[in-house]
Amino acid sequence: MAHPTRPTGGPADELKADALRRELDPAGLPFATTDEAAAEPVVLGQDRAESALAVGLGMVHDGFNVYALGEAGTGRHFVVERALRAEAGGRSVPDDLVYVHDFSDAIRPRAIFLPPGRGPELRRAMDVLMDEVLTALPAAFESEEYQARLKAIEDAFKEKPEAGFKRIQEEAKARGLAMLATPVGMVFAPIVNGNVLDSDDFEKLSGEEQARVRGDIDELQQELQKVLRAMPAWDRERRDQVRALDHDIADTAMGHLVDEVQVPFSGHRGVTEYLEAVRAELIESAPRVLKPHGRGGDPSGEGAPADPGEREGFRRRFRVNVLVDHADAQGAPVVTESNPTYTNLLGRVEYVAQMGTLVTDFNLIRAGALHRANGGFLLLDARKVLEQPYAWDTLKRALKSRQLRIESLGQSMGLVSTVSLAPEPAPLDVKVVLVGDRVLYYLLSAYDPEFLDLFKIAADFDDEMPRTPAQEVAYASLIAALVKGAGLASFHADAVAVVIEHAARLAGDAERLSTRTGPLMDLLREAAFHAGGTAPVRAEHVRHALEQQRYRAGRVRERLLDAVLRRTLHIDTEGARVGQINGLSVVQLGPSAFGHPSRITARVRLGRGEVTDIEREVELGGPLHSKGVLILAGFLGARYAVDHPPALAATLVFEQTYGGVDGDSASSAELYALLSAIAEVPLRQDLAVTGSVDQHGNVQAIGGVNEKIEGFFALCRERGLTGTQGVLIPAANAPQLMLERDVVDAVRDGRFHVYPVARVDDGVALLSGMDAGERGASGAFPEGSFNALVEARLQSMAADLAAFGNGGGRGDRADKARRKARKPPKGST
């Protein structure tokens, strides 16, 4: 958009000083100092992103997660967080999440969701319950009632085998047999007078007697066998009865305690089921763990009393691990995870060292950012997520499956098969907002097939906005808010104006303002620093800060300038030369950029129409540069050598450059140098040129125009401004000019010049001091014009080439024709 006040001169008319920099009148700002402005932070120029966020955050469907893309410092975090808070505030608080022991499957802890704040309540209730169980139950087992009932059971079962043995013993005695014990069993033997009958005496018995003894022994053996075989069953029956008694006592002692926990959670199915499991488990295992030592124990040594470690382990199983507690929350959670590692996102199961081994239980399950953000929003930095091993895959898997499954990295990759916890997966309902740069967004779009399905909304943050008077006022408010937000001393309107001008300069365009508030914030802070605590901060403080920034970043620029001044690098800023011109390039070093002149030279000789770009030959030139050279060769051939073959061989080079060159912004300069070499007309060296050309000879816009002009100006100023020096820029770049004040001042004083150029011929006229010449009705260029010289030289070369091809050397006729066409330029040296 052209500025209405911009003067539009003729092709070669230089730009007026006013057109070189669009300043801002502080009087137009709505405040005298930032103190008077509202402190409400605002964001400007991000309508597109804000509308995308509104859609992305508002939609509840799957996959409508948001990627906020844009340059750093464009206020992405601020805008996103503000949008998130606004959206989250209107939503309901999600449930608390607790993990409890699953008594039927110890390695799969159960997840229970509870209304906000009820998670910690359940934990407290269970802690109180266990305190009471641990005191009530041992007392119940000490009670007279329990002891009496236990003794009754024990006595009843002792009597059974005793009676059996006694009966057999008496029966044996009655039949004259003894029952003898061995370490492994019992033996029956006939007895006479208290002595065991030996085999000789036995043989002496009558056959009938012998048969009777053997029969008796057989019978008693079988009787004994019956008693012995019944013993394990009796024992089991006894244990069952003791266990039933234990359960009865435990239920009586604790049942009401569990009921008390139950009451406040009566409507909650998950808790009710859990508490029923707790009741069953307490009745089943509490007697074993909590029965006092040495009393009421199993006489056979089974069910040995628990040690303190087991008691503690028993207690731990009844704890409640509150992973997410929303007790004090307002609205849905907005969670920012600054270190999105695999475990920080997904949660983890921790281990404790115990006797040299690592052990864990459900109490050691820890929440991840996804748990905390469940039911709300999770804000992550895209680059950090991608930098963390497996974090990106994990995030996608969770979003896709809508489940939170806590597992170690080793488990998820199938590398570890040791038994560990596998907590019950929790349903996941979260909206993720990634904040990242554009490159990552486009790379992910291209290479990750799942990315666009999961992040359907791109909130694209612009890095510049139009500069209108209304926007300038709004921008001033933004700066005031930044100043207040950072707690800086107030800024005067003149200081704010300079900051806004700098924002235009950051955008590289007088008609645009940078939306990157990051660098502006740095500038504000530095200006306040230079103000030394005095308020308000004034324009000179801001300018000083800018100078300091430039100075700090200026080492390479100064070295280059110094090399030129010392003639290490050869750049002419006076006089005229054939086949030589000052081109302009921009050197980008980190966040700062500066312009620098380069000497471009061209040489021609007889050849077959090829223009050799030396930069390309040595692979120092980039593709855009090569393209520019080929375009100018196209222009040359089409304009001057339509009816004869090109008989020219030309070489073009950026002299004394030792790094790469890219971009087509020097193509017009190269064309001028080449035309000068062909026509053998010297070009002014007090001018520098930037701009690309098309095949029709139009000069086209380029980037970094401000830095380029300032680069050449700096050199000329160091050598002393002659009053004739200046820069040719594409006319299309003129509205973008936002030059430093010293350049503007020099132009205003007529000591430096900026020429907008629309066509190559305009540039030729400026550089050569000759009329470029247009083809007349006859189709020929006016005699004595620059273009006529070019054409004549090319024709003569074609003739020379033809003659050369026919075996002759350079013909006198052609030489004469060339000399005739040539006319000495004005003011050449």
């Binding site: 002792k158 085998p161 005793e162 043995f165 003894a178 003898l180 014990a181 061995t182 370490p183 492994v184 069993g185 019992m186 033996v187 029956f188 033997a189 006939p190 208290g194 002595n195 065991v196 009958l197 030996d198 085999s199 036995f202 053997r214 022994i217 053996q221 079988q222 004994l224 066998q225 019956k226 008693v227 012995l228 075989r229 013993m231």
Partner: protein, 300 residues
């Protein structure tokens, strides 16, 4: 009426490798070590068992499985030899640890008779409350039962899982309570202060407490706790042992608490080792059938 005191000279422990007998071995070693006595460990190969298994139709009923399997004398001999070897190794280890001089002797014959024959005047006899019995220690073993009823020196009964320690609870009952008390002080030796007296109920119970204290003072034994028993059955005795955290009980074998089936059960299942002081049950004690006559020399 009391004979001149015979000093304790030796501890004899009868072993059959059953868990109870091993507890008796430990108690015997502890006592011998504390009183600097010698230890005689006796393993008796039961002649009746050898004879019984020599019969052609001898079978054994497995104590655990109840299965009936043939058993012959050679097998029995081998088993007894193995047991004797095991027992000797255990004696060597246990006594060796306590630096008690020991002798190991294997006898073949009637178990009861052989034990009696090995015990001499000044011996304390230690044995398990039961042997290899399917009753699993719920009743007193046959040998132990006969020895308790018999006459002789002091006798120690131990059951699996118990160990001899202080304080020693002394039951003063009957007319010969002074001898019981003297035997206890003699047994406790330098640790005589660690006695607790339990006076059996009776018309002279309170007076007996004073007399006992006087006698202890006379014997040079320091202050001692005295408990007056509320009854003479097993329960009050068991209760006082628990309450006093007694490590052993010393009592006359004739004590009322040990009589009858309940008494036998008490002895078989007592929580602590029991040391019995024996006199003849009547004026005419039955002489056991043994190679040597039993020594009738009650201690103290």
């Amino acid at each position: 009426m009391s004979a001149p005191p015979v000093r304790l000279r030796r501890v004899v422990v009868a072993l059959d490798a059953s868990p109870h007998s091993l507890a008796a071995l430990q108690a015997a070693v502890d006592l011998a070590s504390a009183r600097k006595l010698e230890l005689l460990a006796l393993f008796v190969e039961d002649l009746r068992l050898l004879q019984a298994t020599a019969l052609p139709f001898a079978h054994e009923v497995g104590a655990f499985s109840g299965s009936v399997r043939p058993l012959d004398a050679a097998q029995t001999e081998r088993r007894l030899r193995d047991l004797a070897t095991r027992v000797e190794a255990l004696v060597a280890a246990t006594a060796g640890r306590a630096a008690v001089p020991w002798t190991f002797r294997v006898r073949r014959g009637d178990v009861f008779a052989e034990i009696l024959a090995s015990a001499e005047a000044g011996d304390l006899l230690s044995l398990g409350a039961a042997g290899w019995s399917p009753m699993r220690g719920r009743a007193l073993g046959e040998t132990a039962g006969r020895l308790v009823q018999g006459v002789g020196g002091p006798m120690l009964l131990a059951r699996r899982g118990t160990r001899l320690r202080l304080p020693l609870l002394v039951l003063l009952e009957g007319e010969r309570w002074r001898e019981t008390l003297e035997a206890a002080t003699d047994l406790a030796g330098e640790a005589a202060g660690a006695l607790v007296l339990a006076v059996a109920p009776g018309p002279a119970q309170a007076a007996r407490e004073g007399e006992a204290r006087a006698l202890l003072a006379q014997l040079g034994v320091g202050p001692t706790r005295v408990r007056l028993l509320a009854g003479s059955g097993p329960s009050p005795l068991r209760a006082v042992v628990r309450r006093e955290h007694a490590g052993a009980l010393l009592a006359p074998a004739s004590a009322a608490a040990f009589r009858g089936e309940a008494g036998e059960r008490l002895l078989a299942g007592f929580d602590v080792p029991v040391i019995l002081i024996r006199w003849g049950p009547s004026a005419a004690p039955a002489r056991p059938q043994a190679a040597q006559g039993p020594r009738k020399s009650p201690l103290g």
